[in-house]
Symmetry: C2
Subunit: 339 residues, 2 copies
């Protein structure tokens, strides 16, 4: 199933060729990823991975670290943006605590505790994760993708909650795309100018000290700047992609995890559809590096929690419906030799 | 309910202020139109109005006029893009034949025949509609809005099917926004360069001959360049807006009808949410004239049939869900005096 074959099918339907614009691009992408003219967008699941970040000690965030724990509780109790959008779009939502500091919530139907450690170390002072910890977090993500596959899910996304995680995501984006550190650092969840100056300094210093090692020791280098939830998302993508699931990519942090996955397991991004272009300045470079074009490209979303991916879900339903349910020009009695 | 009050509410929810970007803009718009912090997006209905256009005789279209009739049949039988998107987004779809040339289909639950005449006259040669015909078509639209109100519908859109209708829509856009005719004429459903040259000439000549009369005789002038489905859409907007319904605005033709409504019944556009920016070049000027900002602003859609409005429906569900169902920062135990 090539893009050309899908376009040929779309052009046979009762509409002027290309007249549904970007909805047709999404239809093509779904068909090519799933290798069928009858793509599925349900059942679907968004898995959120949550963890804390030692680098918060450097004053690189607008919100204090304990917000991670409070937001995990809000998500699990159904009041967070992700919970509400999951319900609105008919999407199963799960949250996996892969390393929130302090005790976790008891396991439930939509929440599991799989802490690798109580947050990553302060990447400004030492490696954030050892390779072993990184691999353990990757395995948590892989386990969740395997569970989705076993549950008959057709389409997945990963999201995150982790105060401070735009700092490791910025480091990863700079390292893995080759973009200058200053160009990829943004306000995240709302950093002011003073915080932003510290964040830029931390990212630039870390990237400068690590970039030499990337080629020879990619996994160690990635682990040293990574977060547990980012590692888990990368593992989730790896296994989901290898198992033939369609992966909807959320915002800046989710895409940093995709950069990790594509670097360590090339080809992972071929299963991906980019939901949106985040307000975070490094996102465009990361998506371009993966060869992905965001569907919603100036919506100014910057919340995380899989919210951008969730918003795209009903649009993907519409794209799939166009391909599978529209009548052909032929059947409508419209001659295709003109105009 | 002012935008400021809605924003205050949105900023009290468990997310960084503004972090849902354009979804928050839509939430504000819904709340302000409906004057509530609990906006409704269902039940909803899209009403398509279909008619033919005598101006097709001038060679201004890519497709022959009989396509209107065939597409009406495709819509009613459920195979058109609008039918499929209505089903995918949980939207009631109706089609009203307000002036398709030739005999109409028998009335059905989702289809009514309310022909004012068998298509408008050739606007290049004579007035397309008399004022009486224009008013009759407006009344057909008003009747449909009244029916939606009676049916408890909260949110509506109007769409259209009518080969040739981007020519009257271009005339209306130029006349009512003051934009130059050349700037508002585009390929519509797929006109090539030769057709486009003729279309530009027809629109420029008509606008030049009518523009003097607009100030003194707006209704006569509008009728002389209008189409029956465009008049019906204008009437639909008028009554829907006056009855407190939220109106989702589709593409170029639908917006030309909104220009008509706003000109004749000022304030109508205050109930409107613009779904998308069409690929048609005159659409941006029309939306700007109405003070509306399109939600999907570079999706390149140009099909009509209400498809752009339909695609926005689940996004509006998400916007309403955010406002009504998210927990507050306070309730989540997050102090609002920081960061």
């Amino acid at each position: 199933m090539t893009p050309h074959l899908v376009l040929e099918h779309l052009d046979s339907l009762v509409k002027p060729p290309g007249s549904l614009g970007r909805l047709e691009d999404l239809a093509v992408r779904l068909c090519v990823i799933q290798q069928t003219l009858a793509p599925r967008t349900t059942p679907r699941r968004v898995v959120l991975f949550a963890a804390d970040h030692g680098v918060v000690a450097e004053g690189v965030t607008a919100w204090p670290a304990e917000i991670t724990r409070l937001m995990v509780a809000a998500i699990v109790s159904g009041g967070a943006a992700s919970s509400v959008l999951a319900a609105s779009t008919g999407t199963d939502l799960r949250l996996i605590d892969v390393g929130v500091a302090g005790p976790g919530l008891p396991d439930g139907p939509a929440h599991l505790c799989r802490k690798v450690r109580f947050g990553s170390r302060n990447l400004a002072q030492e490696p954030a994760l050892t390779v072993e910890e990184f691999r353990e977090a990757v395995a948590v993500g892989e386990e969740q993708a395997a569970d989705a596959v076993a549950g008959g899910v057709a389409l997945v996304a990963a999201g995150e909650m982790g105060i401070g995680n735009s700092t490791p995501a910025s480091c990863l984006t700079a390292l893995l795309t080759g973009s200058p550190a200053e160009a990829v650092v943004g306000p995240g969840a709302g950093a002011g100018e003073e915080v932003l100056v510290r964040k830029r300094r931390v990212v630039a210093a870390k990237v400068a000290s690590e970039s030499h090692y990337l080629a020879d020791e990619p996994e160690t280098t990635i682990a040293s700047v990574c977060g547990l939830e980012i590692a888990a998302m990368a593992g989730f993508y790896r296994r989901a992609s290898a198992s033939g699931l369609t992966v909807v990519l959320d915002g800046f942090i989710a895409t940093a995890a995709a950069l990790v996955a594509e670097r360590l397991w090339p080809g992972t991004a071929r299963s991906m559809i980019a939901a949106h272009l985040s307000a975070e300045p490094g996102h465009a470079a990361a998506l371009a590096h993966l060869g992905l074009k965001p569907a919603l490209d100036n919506w100014g979303m910057r919340l995380g929690e899989g919210t951008g991916a969730l918003l795209l879900m009903p649009i993907l339903d519409a794209a799939a419906a166009i391909v599978t349910r529209m009548a052909t020009l032929d059947r409508a009695g419209i001659r295709t030799d003109g105009p």
